[in-house]
């Protein structure tokens, strides 16, 4: 049974169609890549799935439940988490605090207890912090816990977002260009991190421009072009598909769609 199900999604901005009739299914522990030329609507699709944009048509299902109109924060309770292409780090907070925010839905809330720093709150704070440190180590960011996130280099911030998203203990993790700006060594590390995450049963949905990485780790690949599905299949199938080749050559010919 599919964990995340996208059904016939369509959305437009100011009359310009950004996505039309996109459907896909993601299974547990699967690494599922979404690729396509710039402007194909990959990030827009992520924004629709994670509840930031409301689609004009179609629906999103998590565990078979229609969540299309759920507010953003409710989706994380159902096991959806994500990172952002253009970095949405909490720049004024320290690295470890960034990840601690990711634990939010597993923490006890109650403003009064927080105001008076009751012993239970202190204990929970320590636990949350320990978990966050663990995750920082997992993504290879040991030893920078107390640095202000705004002072960290780009590559570290990309990993920080992965650690933060993992802190929520998602069932489905959307990664938007996790290897952007990474050198070969760093990309190999990201590769390993993604495989480990999936090995734990988490479905990883990946938007990525590094085709070598995508082809290497993805179980299935979904190709978008100008907001529509071009093909979906294994790396082998996608690589040899004439439509895909045309789409990517077309990109070089300058037919790059500019919206979305």
């Amino acid at each position: 049974m599919s964990l995340l199900s996208v059904r016939d999604i369509g959305i437009e901005f100011g009359g310009v169609t950004a996505l039309q009739g996109v459907s896909l299914d993601v299974r547990p522990a699967e690494i599922f890549a979404i690729i396509g030329p710039n402007g194909a609507g990959k990030t827009t699709l992520f924004n629709v799935i994670s509840g930031l944009y409301l689609p004009k048509q179609g629906r999103i299902e998590l565990h078979g439940k229609d969540v299309t109109r759920f507010p953003v924060h409710r989706l994380s309770e159902l096991g959806l988490s994500r990172t952002f292409q253009n970095l949405q780090v909490f720049f004024r907070m320290t690295a470890v605090e960034n990840v601690m925010v990711g634990r939010h839905l597993h923490e006890k809330r109650g403003v009064l207890a927080h105001l008076f720093a009751l012993p239970s709150v202190k204990r929970q704070n320590a636990e949350t912090r320990a978990k966050a440190e663990e995750l920082l180590a997992f993504v290879g960011l040991k030893g920078i816990s107390d640095q202000t996130a705004g002072n960290l280099p780009y590559g570290a911030l990309k990993r920080l977002e992965i650690a933060r998203a993992l802190a929520a203990e998602p069932k489905v993790l959307l990664l938007d260009e996790p290897a952007a700006g990474c050198n070969a060594v760093e990309t190999a590390e990201i590769d390993e991190i993604i495989r480990k995450i999936a090995a734990n049963g988490v479905a990883v949905v990946l938007v990525e421009h590094d085709m070598r990485l995508v082809m290497k780790i993805s179980h299935r690949i979904h190709v978008l072009e100008t907001g529509r599905t071009l093909v979906e299949g294994t790396a082998q199938e996608v690589r040899t598909n004439p439509k895909v080749i045309a789409a990517y050559l077309g990109k070089h010919a300058g037919e790059d769609a500019q919206h979305a």
Binding site: F13, L52, Y53
Partner: protein, 290 residues
Amino acid sequence: MAQFLQYAFSGLTVGAVYALVALGFTLIYNASGVINFAQGEFVMLGGMVTVFATMAGVPLPLAALLAIAVAVLVGISLHLFAIEPAKGASAVTLIIITIGASILLRGLASVIFDKRFHALPAFVPGEPLRIGGASILPQSILVLAGAAIIVLLLWLFMSRTLMGKAMIATAANRMSARLVGINTVWIICASFAVSAAIGAVGGILVAPITLTNYDVGTLLALKGFSAAMLGGMGNPLGAIVGGLVVGLLEAFGAGYISSAYKDAIAFIVILLVLFVMPNGLFGKAGVERV
């Protein structure tokens, strides 16, 4: 009906001044991203300098020109000595700087002039005109006409001159404007100068009707800012409509409901409009990009 017209006339007169203040907010905001809370002080300077220059024997037209020149000078200084040195500071820091400037200007005005209320004689003497049973002062018509002329001149300036087009380009995208060779510092400076001039003209025109003193700028800035937000920040048309609407709401509120709560009606309407249209009447709804 006569009463309705009467309220409408007085609302439009005050609203025209609010519209000019709101327009000043908009010009500076568009060029620099700064919300200038010293905008009301330009109106104060317009009125006060004219009053004191005429008291010193300067003929009215010359006094008015002098007042505009003083306001422009103050506007340019505000930019050069307070805003430009704080370049790159956060929006709220810049707002506090303009609040500091407004305190400073009020302090200067109270020392150089005085703390009393002053009125100018009407520029166009004569009996109030009777329209539909309501009476309207010739000076009120002058205020409205003056505001209309300013708006028209501004529009011509923006759409016909290179400088105006550069200002529009800067408002749309400061970085790109700089890349195509527009000197954006100079443009921001110009926007402070033009805003100051617009404010001063408003202050001069309305001085015979509403009296002026060193302290009138505070409330005007408040109303002008509210009007600009009601219209949709950054939209000159919105600023003008917002100003007139706030003026009319005040006048009708005072006339039909309660003069004590006249400001309340304006603000309740502003709140209600924003609840329905969170970007003001003419503001663009932006898509959050992540």
